[in-house]
């Protein structure tokens, strides 16, 4: 009995022109999106490599350790082919030097504004917008359409339990929609192989989880469609209701969540934080200048009463100590600035995290947001992407600075120019070494933050569970509704 119902449902779907049309459109969309994704990924890799080249050049051309600076680029992640997330919105690269803090700048969209106009479509977008719409299209008249055709009465003129009927209905629609969808998805994966996209096993795991997540998401819309169809009498009404649900779920609730959170938790803009950092930096350097002036006045005072020869001798004797003293306090200033910068950043990041958490939890009223957040997590293109990179780049910067300072100490020279103005000798400029290139073989290498399974799949588990619970609730609801459905 069950298999008969299931077969009927499957046949009904597969033989309909609706199915042919949607199948073709979905396949086309998915393949285009994967193709665009691969294209964009390859562009990102080319940029990544060009930047590594730039960084290497810069380092090779530096003639003194003080002038060595590094340029770090966000490493493209192949899973972003499927879920671009915030990849296009977040800066790609950051300078690593003693004087500036790490800051990712130049987002792909700001470099290629053309793409920003129409935005890039990715697999997640298609699942989220198009496939959910199609799921509704296939289910809005699941129950009430059969009533309108009179086939519901005919079916229940036989000895069938309502629960069995509903389960068969759901399974039939599910198989009829999901299985054909897997075809273009598999083709998309073949494209990955054909284009030789380098994928690690964890990437494959992420992609497979993403497919699973999409299946869950579409199942949810199938369930919602059946539920609405089982609580309304006419299919035109259920279609309208479902569209309203779709629009609010897909378009309104997620955005409202973010807007609301933006209102509730205020976060200072980057410009404001930078201004605060600059103010502190300036004040600190001013202090340092004053301090240095004082120190030199003191030193002058010690030389009070000496003869010119004595002075020169004393100076020559003390020069090294003084230099070291000055250098130490300069380093103190720098480290104070860095500490303060990081404190300010951390504060703002904490507030941002709070804002994000709030925003996403409000947005999760709509399971659509849940899907999107989980998909981004799986692809590692979630909202934390920027932070993750900046944090790891800061750690690298510490290593880098330490290495440079150590090298500088070894070489005994200072970076940049050294200009001394003396009433006797006039102006003397020391440019440091300028002949040989530096041996940077031991320079610390930057490692992109590794995405462990617990960061991707693990972090998405909650949303998986949430979608699952929604499906179970929705299905339970439709069983209940159908049990009491007026078959007339």
């Amino acid at each position: 009995m069950f298999s008969l119902l299931l077969q009927k449902e499957l046949k009904n779907i597969i033989t309909s022109p609706k199915f042919t049309a949607t199948f073709l459109v979905c396949s086309l969309l998915i393949l285009i999106s994967v193709f665009i994704g691969i294209n964009e990924y390859e562009n990102a890799v080319a940029q990544y490599q060009a930047n590594q080249e730039i960084a290497r050049q810069n380092i090779a051309e530096a003639t003194s350790w003080g002038r060595v600076r590094n340029l770090l680029h966000r490493e493209p992640n192949p899973v972003q082919i499927f879920v671009s997330g915030v990849h296009f919105d977040v800066g790609r690269l950051s300078n690593i030097s003693d004087y500036n803090d790490v800051k990712l700048v130049r987002s792909p969209y700001s470099d290629e504004t053309l793409f920003a106009i129409f935005r890039v479509i990715d697999f997640a977008f298609i699942v989220q917008i198009v496939l959910s719409l199609f799921a509704i299209l296939f289910t809005y008249d699941a129950i009430n359409g059969e009533r309108e055709q009179g086939t519901l009465k005919l079916a229940f003129a036989n000895s069938i339990s309502r629960a069995k009927y509903l389960i068969a209905k759901f399974s039939g629609i599910w198989l009829g929609l999901i299985v054909p969808l897997l075809i273009p998805i598999l083709l998309g994966m073949l494209m990955l192989i054909a284009f030789k996209v380098p994928l690690a096993s964890t990437d494959w795991l992420s992609i497979i989880s993403l497919v699973g997540l999409s299946v869950l998401y579409i199942s949810l819309f199938i369930v919602i469609g059946i539920l609405v169809s089982a609580i309304t009498r006419s299919s035109s009404l259920s279609f309208l209701l479902l569209l309203v649900i779709w629009i609010s779920g897909v378009l309104i609730v997620p955005r409202l969540g973010v807007m609301a959170a933006g209102q509730i938790v205020q976060v200072e803009s980057v410009a404001q934080i930078e201004a605060k950092q600059e103010a502190f930096q300036k004040a600190r350097w001013d202090d340092y200048s004053a301090e240095l002036t004082e120190v030199w006045q003191e030193r002058e005072a010690q030389m009070e009463g000496m003869s010119d020869e004595e002075r020169t001798a004393y100076r020559d004797e003390m020069e090294w100590t003084w230099l070291e003293e000055d250098d130490a306090s300069r380093k103190q200033v720098q480290s104070d600035i860095i500490t303060n910068n990081r404190r300010l950043l951390e504060e703002s990041q904490n507030r941002k995290k709070l804002q994000e958490q709030l925003a996403f939890n409000i947005a999760r009223i709509s399971p659509v947001a849940s899907f999107q957040l989980a998909a981004m997590k799986l692809a590692g293109t979630d909202v934390g992407l920027k932070n993750r990179y900046e944090t790891s780049m800061r750690l690298y910067k510490d290593d880098f600075s330490e290495y440079i300072q150590q090298k500088e100490a070894e070489e005994g020279g200072h970076g940049g120019f050294n200009i001394s103005i003396d009433s006797e000798q006039g102006v003397q400029i020391d440019f440091g070494r300028n002949d040989q290139t530096l041996d940077t073989s031991e320079m610390p290498q930057y490692q992109s933050p590794e995405l462990r399974l617990q960061d991707t799949v693990g972090a998405a588990l909650f949303d998986f569970g949430f979608l699952g619970v929604c499906i179970v609730l929705g299905f339970g609801g439709s069983v209940l509704a159908f049990m009491r459905y007026d078959l007339r």
């Binding site: 022109p17 609706k18 665009i36 080319a46 940029q47 060009a50 730039i54 050049q57 810069n58 051309e61 919105d89 977040v90 700048v105 130049r106 987002s107 969209y109 700001s110 504004t113 053309l114 793409f115 106009i117 129409f118 198009v130 719409l133 299209l137 009404l237 309208l240 569209l243 309203v244 609010s248 378009l251 997620p254 955005r255 973010v258 807007m259 959170a261 933006g262 209102q263 976060v267 803009s269 410009a271 404001q272 201004a275 600059e278 103010a279 300036k282 350097w285 200048s289 002036t293 030199w296 002058e300 996403f360 909202v383 920027k386 940049g416 103005i421 006039g426 102006v427 400029i429 300028n434």
Partner: protein
Amino acid sequence: MFKFIFIKELRDIIQSSRFTISFAVCSVLIILAFVMGAQNYLSSKAQYDAAIQENRNQIAAHTEWMMVEHSITLPPQPLMTLVTGVSNDIGRNIAMSGRGELRAENTRFNDEPIFAVFRFMDLEFIFGIVLSLFAKIFAYDAINGEKNRGTLKLCFANPLSRANFIAGKLVGSFVGLSVALLIPILIGCALLPVLGVQLTTDEWLKLSLILIAGILYFGVFLAITIAISASTVKPSNAFLIGLVVWIFAVLIIPRTSVLISGRIVDVPNIDEITAQKNRYRTQLFDEDRPKMSNFQLPEGTEIENAMTAFQSFMSDLASARQEKIDVFNARLNEEYSNKKRAQEQLALSLSRISPTSVFTLVTTQLAGTSLNLQHNFMDEAYTYQNAYADFMQEKTGSNRSSGFRMIMITTGGDEEEPEPLDPDELPQFIFSGQSFSEAAQAGMIDLSLLILFNLIFFGGAFRAFLNYDLR
């Protein structure tokens, strides 16, 4: 006759539950778009004001113009409230320097990726995606639904010409739906000043053109849908075909045209160009190095003037170097931006097959949030750079391209406290957006295209219905 059909169509729309529900949803969406857009604009505005203020504070805290790190900021366009365009995707701050290349940084989405996750929902999005979908829902059974209900036969049992019927149908549904749409839109417009978005007369004019474009766009989809309905027998098929057309227009064509133009016009990787520029700069610096090492104070220079002398020496060297760099970079930049603009032009022209992208282009153009926003910002920043360089030259005697931090250690006695700087002395950066007539001129082609689309599809619906099988 036309009048009866027209009135009937209006009535049929207004009395349907389809209308009640979708009107309610659209009204909520449109009002929300206004409110959220205003919110978005105001927070951009607040960020802008804060950035300007911080910049002034920073200047005022210094005593030497030499030390000032001036940056200019792109003011948010008030019409981004309704048409976000690329305004969140382009850099807003430019660190000013007397010469050399400028780069806009700190895009809104880079600063606040949280908003990039779901993006903003603006009026352009509502029109482009939601209202076009609603046009489909309204009209997919315009003709074949009447046939199924038998009313088509009943109507044509009377002395009624087909032309009158289809014209009444098209005009009636267009007027009925667009007037209904205008209600929440006008409420939203009236809300703008209340929400704190002040628009100038020019901007109101632009806004009204944006709304006209929106209504025209809606008309295109309505006409397409009615044309489909007049060429199919089953409403469900009409809906499906309509949906496919919608997906192509909204999702596929705009993106694939960008993809195709990227294939046709090969624009070099921007980072490779940077690498080239870097190489050239380093090469020049290396050439100058020996000159610097051999620097000698001119005979008879007082020691107090040594620093100034050195500075002017360095500054001369730097200027000479910079001139070469400027020439080199300008050539590279021009080549790059020419190619990029060619690519953009091609992509945009291709995408104009789809009414959705025509609509996007015309509204962003009018709202001042199109691709040109970025171009204009950079152009004006470069113009400002000259004024800034002149100012700095006058104040410091150098145009500050060397960029090293100087720590003055005076071993002499106490000096006078230097005066803090007055930020008002600095020439102000004023971003002048397009005037209404400029914007209208720029948007004219796309606006006419929308009208053309309307004519084509209205005509198509007309033709299809003249051959329609009434049985």
